[in-house]
Amino acid sequence: MSDAILSLSDVTKQFGSLLASDSVTLDLRAGEIHALIGPNGAGKSTLIKQIAGEIKSDRGDIHFNGQNINALDAVARSRMGLARTFQVSSLMPEFSVLQNVMLARQSVSGKVFRFFKPVLGDKSLVDPAMAQLERVGLADRAQMRAADISHGERRQLEMAVALALEPKAFLLDEPMAGMGPEGSKRLTGFLDGLRGQAPILLVEHDMDAVFALADRISVLVYGRIIATGTVDEIRGNDDVKRAYLGEEA
C-alpha cells in the first residue's frame, strides 16, 4: 500500500436502482500499468469519472499522492497531477493541434490570467507543446485544426494533451478505441514505455493490448471488482472466465 500513488477504498456510486460502482477497492502503484477490464456497462467509465472528480461518489475514499481527494473537484485533481483521456476524443475542435496542447501547458505553468502577451509567440508554451506532439508523432499536424485530423490522430492528440500535463498518474479511458490494428500496436508500444514516467490506470477493451501491457488487471462486473491479479492469475481465474472472458470467447 505504501507505494500506491492512487488508492480507492469502498468507492460506491448508485444511479437510481443501478449500482454503477459497488464498494470498489483498488490501487495504482508507482511504475505499473493497472488495467481495468469488464463487460460493457460494468461501470468502468463511471469509475474513471469518480476518480477524475467529474462524478461525486456516494461513499468511499480516494487517496492520491497520500492525500484524501474526496472533496476536490475535477479541476483541482487535474492540477494535482491526475491526467485523464476520454473514451470519445474530447478536444478543442476549432483550435489547432498545437493550441490544444498549449492549453494544457498553460494550465501546468499556472499562469492562465495573462492578458497581453501573444500566446502563439510564447516559447515557454510552444516549445514544450511541440515536444509532446513529437513524442506522439503528430508534429507535422501541429498547425491543422483538431477537427480536421483523422480519428486515430485525435486519439494521439488526446495522449499528447495528457502528457503535456506532466501528470503523476494517467487515467486512460479506452485509448485504443476506434484505432486500427496498426495504430493500436503503435500505441501499445508507446504506453509500454510510459509507465516509467507515471503509473497508468488503463480501461481497455483490446485484450491483446491489455495482456501485453498490464502488470496487474482488475475485473469489474456490475460495478464490483471480482478479481485483481497478474495477467496469468486473471487468465486462470474461474470467476473471471465465467463472468467475462468466457462470454467473449
Binding site: S78, F95, L103, V108
Partner: protein, 328 residues
C-alpha cells in the same frame, strides 16, 4: 489567403468609418457625422459583447444593463454638476462632474462591480438559462431606473451641455466623432490583444469544450467571469459615449430592445470576428436610415437578413466576405 482577405475587409471598414464623416464635413452634412458617431459607439458596445458572445460563446441577453449603466454614469454625474447639487455631502462631499474621463472611470468601476455580481450568478447556468437570467437582471435594472424619480424615471435625464474632454471641443460633431472613433479603436486593439493572449486561448477553449478545460485543470467559470466583467466595462464605456452623443439618457438604454440591438450588431457583422461589430453596426444604421426613411417597416427586411445570416452565414457579414477561418 483568407486571413489576407479578412485584413482587407477590415481595412476597408476602418477607412470607411473615418472617411465618410470627413466627406460629410466637407459637404456640411453634420447629420451624417452624427450617424457615423453612432456607428462607432454601437460598434464599441458590440466589441464588448463580442468578447463573451463571440469568443466565449456566452449569449448574454442583458448587455443593455451595462450600456445603460454607462449612460446613467454620464447623465447622473453631469446633472449634479450642471445643477450645482452635490451627489452627497456627508460623511464626505461628492460632487458631479462634466469631465468625460471621470465619468468613464465611474462607468467602468460601476459596470465592473455590477457585472461581477450578475456574472457570478448567471455563469453558473448555461444555454437558454443563461440567456434568460442575464435578461432578467437587465430588466431588473431597467425597472429600477423607471421607478427612480430622482433621475427622471421613465422620462430620462437630459445632459444640457455635452460633457468635456481636455483639449477637445466635444460640441463640435467631427471632434466628438474623432473621440468616439479613437475609443472604438482602443477597445478593438485591446480586444484583439486579449483574444491572442493566454487568457484569450482559455476563453475560446471554454467555449468549445468545457469538459476538456476542466480535465486540463482550468476552471471555465473563472475565465468566463473575468471575460464577462471586461466585456461589460467596454459596453459601459460605449454607453457613456452614447449618452453624450444624444445629450440624453433614459431607461430605453437599459431595455431588452437595446440588448437585442447590440446582439444584432454582433451577429449581423460576424460573431467572434474582430471587425464584426463594426460591420454589423454600420449595416444596421445604414439600413435604418435608408430604408427607415422610406418605409416604416424597415425592420422587416432587417429581420429577414438576420435570419439569413443565422441560417446560412454564421460568420456574419465579415465571414461571408472574408471566408471561413482555418483555425482560431
Amino acid at each position: 489567403m483568407t486571413m489576407n482577405r479578412e485584413f482587407l475587409i477590415n481595412s476597408i471598414l476602418a477607412i470607411a468609418l473615418i472617411t465618410v464623416p470627413l466627406i460629410a464635413l466637407g459637404m456640411d452634412e453634420p447629420f451624417i457625422i452624427t450617424l457615423a458617431t453612432k456607428v462607432a459607439i454601437f460598434a464599441m458596445a458590440g466589441v464588448g459583447l463580442n468578447l463573451v458572445l463571440g469568443y466565449g460563446g456566452l449569449v448574454s441577453f442583458g448587455h443593455a444593463a451595462f450600456f445603460g449603466i454607462g449612460g446613467y454614469a454620464a447623465g447622473i454625474l453631469a446633472s449634479h454638476a450642471l445643477n450645482y447639487e452635490p451627489i452627497m455631502e456627508s460623511p464626505f462631499l461628492i460632487e458631479g462632474t462634466t469631465q468625460m474621463i471621470v465619468i468613464w472611470i465611474v462607468a467602468l468601476v460601476v459596470s465592473a462591480l455590477v457585472a461581477l455580481v450578475i456574472g457570478a450568478i448567471t455563469l453558473r447556468t448555461s444555454g437558454v438559462y443563461f440567456i434568460m437570467i442575464t435578461l432578467a437582471f437587465a430588466q431588473m435594472i431597467y425597472y429600477f431606473a423607471i421607478s427612480w424619480p430622482a433621475y427622471g424615471g421613465e422620462d430620462g435625464l437630459s445632459i444640457y451641455v455635452r460633457n468635456g474632454f481636455p483639449g477637445i471641443n466635444t460640441l463640435d460633431p467631427i471632434s466628438f466623432f474623432a473621440l468616439c472613433a479613437v475609443m472604438l479603436a482602443i477597445a478593438m486593439v485591446f480586444s484583439a490583444v486579449l483574444i491572442r493572449s493566454r487568457f484569450g486561448l482559455a476563453l475560446q477553449g471554454a467555449r468549445q469544450n468545457a469538459q476538456r478545460m476542466t480535465a486540463v485543470g482550468i476552471a471555465p467559470f473563472r475565465i468566463r467571469l473575468v471575460a464577462f466583467v471586461i466585456s461589460a466595462m467596454i459596453t459601459a464605456l460605449a454607453g457613456a459615449l452614447y449618452a453624450d452623443l444624444n445629450r440624453f439618457v433614459s431607461p430605453t438604454m437599459l431595455s431588452w430592445h437595446m440588448s437585442g440591438e447590440i446582439m444584432v450588431f454582433v451577429i449581423l457583422g460576424g460573431v467572434g470576428r474582430l471587425f464584426g461589430p463594426l460591420a454589423g453596426a454600420a449595416l444596421y444604421i445604414i439600413l435604418e436610415h435608408l430604408l427607415g426613411g422610406v418605409w416604416e417597416f424597415w425592420q422587416l427586411p432587417l429581420g429577414v437578413l438576420l435570419l439569413l445570416v443565422v441560417l446560412f452565414a454564421r460568420g456574419g457579414l465579415v465571414g461571408v466576405l472574408a471566408g471561413e477561418r482555418k483555425h482560431v
